[in-house]
């Protein structure tokens, strides 16, 4: 035993005076309590000031007065992006896209959501569709998304759902519908395809969005290996579709104006009609590139079309799952006559007379389907893309909650450990208090 060290320590301690600190300790305790209360008051006041402001974000203005534009670089929606109906509302979108990968939710090969990019700014949202097939379409003004979804209830058949991005309201068109096919240029009508529950027959109808009135165009058997219907509205409201190797042109009332054998041709997207409505473009489903052929809308004969530059490269394998197995889509036309084509993970601008296409927008490789608002295309405006960070607001809230829970757990564990430790300390037989030294 270090007796000498012990003795010297006790001798050293014995030289201590008895400090009269009672009154000053009370003063110190009161002062520290006042400081603690003041600090808490400041914290509470700051929270009272900040929380209401943080909870009421500025609404994003609908693109009134500000022309919609396209981002030059499309990004993937963040993990935990806000829903399309979440506040603050998006107002309108310029791009609607779907694809495969974890950013599109669900499993890698079974996505359950679409991505949306804002009309005037790069604010991204997601639209949850569930694990249903089909596609989503953006209305010409970019304000409404039409897709097939399954509403809650006993009848589990898909219904066409309209999501208003300006108000967040969701409405359902009457009847059933398995796929939204095309919006009319005025946004008042919607062509849909309805596949029977047993999958053996399909029907093509045009619905009035306002009241749900439907014009049935054709009902057809869906044999094994049948191709999907491809369709497009003309600027004047006529409607062309290709089904069972025949092309049809009908007027707004559904009266057939023209039909002719289409052979291996398919319409090439919602922008298949030329801006003047005289002809429409079709592509061969066997082509490995995108080579449009133009057909006169009144005679059905192949005619010379706009002198668009060729889309380079072999596009086979770039895009899968597009209606009609098309390799590229003609999305629409600018007012200057430039056609926008989604091909090879890019949106290309094909200006008549130009030597080569110009890249309007780059698209991530995971994106397989893309729709652009007609107004955003027509204006021809392109803005610098600003894709979102990988972690979105909803995930940030979850992560913050998780962090808080872990923090509380750690604090609780520390508190328990501290209490147990204090019980042991309180039971310590202090020799200097109770033993011979005291």
């Amino acid at each position: 035993m270090t007796m000498r060290l012990q003795q010297e320590l006790r001798r050293e301690a014995a030289t201590a005076e008895t400090y009269d600190v009672y009154a000053r300790s009370l003063v110190t305790a009161r002062r520290s309590r006042r400081r603690a209360m003041a600090s808490w008051a400041v914290v509470v006041a700051a929270l009272a000031l900040v929380v209401p402001l943080a909870g009421r974000p500025e609404p994003i203005p609908v693109a009134d007065g500000e022309s919609p534009s396209l981002p030059d670089r499309l990004g993937l929606p963040a993990y935990g992006s806000l829903d399309a109906t979440a506040y603050p509302h998006l107002g309108a979108a310029s791009a609607l896209f779907g694809g495969f990968g974890t950013r599109f939710g669900g499993f890698a090969d079974d996505p359950d959501r679409y991505g949306l990019a804002g009309a005037t700014t790069d604010r991204y949202r997601v639209l949850r569709k569930g694990f249903t097939d089909g596609s989503a379409l953006l209305s010409p003004d970019g304000r409404t998304v039409a897709d097939a979804a399954t509403p809650d209830g006993p009848d589990r058949r898909a219904v066409i759902r309209l999501t208003d991005l300006a108000t967040g309201r969701i409405s359902w068109l009457p009847g059933t519908g398995s796929r939204a096919v095309a919006w009319s240029p005025d946004g008042r009508r919607l062509a849909i395809e309805d596949v029977a529950a047993d999958g053996r027959s399909g029907a093509l109808r045009i619905l009035e969005v306002a009241d749900g009135r439907a014009v049935a165009l054709v009902t057809y058997p869906r044999d094994q290996g049948a191709f999907e219907v491809t369709a497009a509205f003309a600027p004047d409201g006529r409607f062309a579709y290709v089904q069972d190797f025949r092309a049809h042109v009908v007027d707004a009332a559904g009266t057939e104006l023209l039909t002719f054998p289409a052979g291996a041709y398919l319409l090439t997207g919602k922008g298949s009609w030329t801006p003047d409505g005289r002809s429409f473009a079709m592509v061969k489903r066997t082509d490995r590139g995108w080579t449009p052929h133009w057909f006169d809308a009144s005679t059905g004969r192949e005619v010379p079309g706009p002198a668009l530059p060729a889309v380079p490269g072999d596009l086979s394998g770039d895009l899968v799952g597009l209606p009609g197995d098309a390799l590229a889509h003609l999305l629409g036309w600018r007012r200057d006559g430039t056609a926008l084509v989604f091909a090879g993970h890019r949106v290309l601008g094909l200006t008549p007379g130009a030597a080569a296409p110009a890249t309007v927008m780059t698209v991530p490789g995971q994106v397989q389907t893309l729709d652009l608002a007609d107004q955003a295309i027509a204006g021809g405006l392109v803005r610098p893309g600003d894709p979102p960070f990988a972690i979105g607001p909803r995930l940030r809230i979850w992560l913050a909650g998780l962090l808080l829970a872990v923090l509380l757990l750690v604090l609780w564990a520390r508190h328990r450990r501290g209490r147990a430790r204090w019980r042991r300390v309180a039971a310590v037989p202090w020799r200097t208090t109770n033993g011979e030294i005291a």
């Binding site: 035993m1 007796m3 320590l9 050293e12 014995a14 201590a16 400090y19 009672y22 110190t28 310590v428």
Partner: protein, 172 residues
């Protein structure tokens, strides 16, 4: 904040022992007074909760924690004395010289090392009890005790006798 029953009596009765304790921890009368005042102020704020258990243990624990806390060390920087050139001599003035050496040797320790030395050799607590008081692991107490004794042995060899090794291996 009204005065709390029993606190005044507690302070009056226990101040001498607590003063010795504070002085041993700091090695300076002013710092010891300040330390005791702070510990008692903290005790007063929680008096109702701890009055029925062991308030003195609370004060002592508070003193140890404050003495080794980063905040307090920042406020009161430690003044280290120079190393004595000669160890204490075994002559008639040995006791005085040894005491001076003791004071200088303790001043060479860090606050944590000093706290461990006081707990282990003044309070005669086990390593586990010392760890509970300081709120650290037993291994930390062992480490500080080892380092402190080594430093004391360097500064004042006569202070640490040969029986030290048995102390270092004392029961937990």
């Amino acid at each position: 904040m009204a005065e709390v029953d029993g606190f005044r009596e507690f302070v009056r009765e226990r101040t001498p022992a607590l003063s010795r304790h504070a002085y041993l921890l700091t090695g300076d009368h002013q710092l010891a007074e300040d330390l005791l005042q702070s510990a008692l102020a903290g005790t007063y704020r929680h008096w109702r909760r701890i009055a029925d258990s062991n308030p003195e243990a609370y004060v002592r624990q508070a003193m140890y924690h404050q003495q080794v806390s980063w905040w307090r060390r920042r406020r009161v920087p430690e003044q280290l004395a120079a190393v004595p050139h000669q160890p204490a001599l075994a002559d008639p003035a040995e006791a005085t010289a040894l005491r001076l050496t003791m004071t200088q040797a303790l001043s060479r320790l860090t606050p944590k090392q000093r706290a461990v030395i006081v707990l282990r050799f003044y309070e005669d607590l086990t390593e586990a009890q010392a760890a509970d008081v300081l709120g650290c692991r037993i291994g930390t107490v062992k480490r500080h005790a080892h380092d402190a004794l080594r430093r004391l042995r360097e500064v004042a060899p006569d202070l640490i006798d040969s029986g030290l090794r048995r102390v270092e291996r004392s029961p937990r």
